[in-house]
């Protein structure tokens, strides 16, 4: 069955420190992978996505993620965290469906990031 695991429920980092949020997926084929961010009381904003090609993808707000097929992972990284990065982060896999693409997103449980000044 398709699934996404985010092992860390809460992470706290100091402002300016580096960040890595973990994501592991279970999927039978080459996945479409996404990271979304949700600020308190807000909707979901796409940070970055991986469909194919270069396994290191760059996103908005200085985030990047690396797809590692051998580890079934798609970890999100940022070299220097800002206080405004405090939010909930969701990893998702696109489950394949009609037209050869994906027809739904399967989300992980999310990681809540707190940033200390």
């Amino acid at each position: 069955a398709q699934s996404v695991t985010q092992p860390d429920i809460h992470i706290t980092v100091s402002e300016g420190a580096s960040l890595e949020l973990r994501c592991n997926y279970s999927y039978g084929a080459t996945p479409y992978l996404f990271w979304y961010v949700q600020s308190p009381g807000q909707g979901l904003q796409l940070l970055l996505k991986y469909f194919s090609g270069d396994t290191l993808v760059q996103g908005i707000k200085g985030f990047e993620a690396e797809f590692k097929r051998s580890q079934s992972s798609f970890n999100l990284r940022k070299p220097s965290v800002h206080w405004s990065d405090a939010a909930e982060y969701f990893c998702a896999v696109g489950a394949r469906g009609f037209s050869g693409g994906y027809n739904k997103l399967i989300f992980g449980a999310g990681t809540r990031l707190a940033v200390h000044p």
Binding site: Y36, G43, K49, F98, G101, N103
Partner: protein, 112 residues
């Protein structure tokens, strides 16, 4: 120039009532979705429509009935609301099945 909009933003109602949530996208997309986010922030797909046709129904109770009057709108009607329906409901849209899904701001439903 909101891309995906939902109304209302907040909805407080009594058990047993019937309510609707509306979603509109101005991105020209042909595929729309409803997701439910529970109190533990877990997000799960409910429905997906492509060109006004239902393509996904993820074992959602039949009290939930989506309706797509045109490609730009996907409404969600809920009959006989229950306490467990309290959640945040997100609408999303994409162009076909191979592009990014863009999410609306969510509708926070509280059933008392």
């Amino acid at each position: 120039d909101t891309a995906v909009s939902q109304t209302p933003k907040y909805l407080v109602t009594q058990m047993g009532n019937d309510k609707s949530i509306k979603c509109e996208q101005n991105l020209g997309h042909d595929t729309m979705y409803w997701y439910k986010q529970d109190s533990k922030k877990f997000l799960k797909i409910m429905f997906s429509y492509n060109n006004k046709e239902l393509i996904i129904n993820e074992t959602v109770p039949n009290r939930f009935s989506p309706k797509s009057p045109d490609k730009a709108h996907l409404n969600l009607h809920i009959n006989s609301l229950e306490l467990g329906d309290s959640a945040v409901y997100f609408c999303a849209s994409s162009q076909g099945s191979q592009e990014t899904q863009y999410f609306g701001p969510g509708t926070r439903l509280l059933v008392l």
